[in-house]
Symmetry: C2
Subunit: 184 residues, 2 copies
Amino acid sequence: MRKLSELEGAALGIIARAQPVTPYQVRKIFAQSPNPHWSASAGSIYPLIKRLEEAHFVSAEEHATGERFGQKYALTKTGRKRLRHWILGGDHVKLVGLPDLVRIRVAMMLVLSADEQRQFLTAMEQKLLEALAITRADVTLKAAEKDRDPLSLLISRGALLQTEARLVWIREVQAVMLGPRRPD
Amino acid sequence: MRKLSELEGAALGIIARAQPVTPYQVRKIFAQSPNPHWSASAGSIYPLIKRLEEAHFVSAEEHATGERFGQKYALTKTGRKRLRHWILGGDHVKLVGLPDLVRIRVAMMLVLSADEQRQFLTAMEQKLLEALAITRADVTLKAAEKDRDPLSLLISRGALLQTEARLVWIREVQAVMLGPRRPD
DNA sequence: GGACACATGTAATACGTTACATGATTTT
DNA sequence: AAAATCATGTAACGTATTACATGTGTCC
């Protein structure tokens, strides 16, 4: 296998933490993550895990629940090695540059009418507020069990700090673009 | 054309601002953007613009410089409409959730040895500092011409706020994961 | 006039998405 | 028993990436 894609690396990391897992569980973990940016559909996960298995990064183990049979996958040693290499060996310049779908739309906001601009910015502020609430809840949840899992708390904290920054920013945009003073 | 991809929308936005432009110029603008997250290679841009043209979102105009002939593209009315719709009509939940390639790697940091963890976090902090410097320079640059183009300044400000937040966070991670006090 | 960047593509490849299909388990 | 959800896939499709190919303008 040439090079792990972002989704493959993420999946491998999930398997590493939750092993042994079924593909379906991996899918669930993707879906349940706060702010999911992958669809993590069946069409992506099952072939992906099959690829990982063919590359001997994960190994399957039969598991049966009643009549159903399925595979539970666990990380192999080479898989672990490969995961370490994936984390450390990425192009660091690409890692720090992140695509903000909101920002890119704000950047081309001038094609919108004044009303549309206001509408868009308000909607974005609203969604960021919702995301903020979700992330805050997640942080307090993770904080409760931080002794067992300090890293999960940190990850949630990261999402929180970013969402806060984006909210501050979108309001800055509102202030400048919609006029500094706007009495309703 | 079914639905604009993220790259297509971005390209259309660039064309909207800089029209009339050649595909090569679009490519340059992508590449020169601070923190580029798309390769914006020839293999993506040329077919992309051809698609946009076939969908009548952009129209070509012959332009000649010496012996060379090429196309300069400009937004059509339907293209402008489509761009507006693309900005406003995206799935707002997906827009606010952004994939942070650093955070996802930090999340699976436990497969690393203590030394590797330190190495990785230090490298990330370093790269974020570099990104911060670049973004700061960009902000001051855009601030100088903010009267002509207030939006560009805001976009740079957005990148700055995010980078700052990520830097604060990575240091939080360092403090927790590498021990609260670490005398060298 | 040779080297190098400019400018425009094409080909092979791979990956993720949506949509579809199917059987098992649980719920009502 | 019907309906809904769980769980595991497959097929078609589109799009971005890397690598390659080719000719033009400019620099020394």
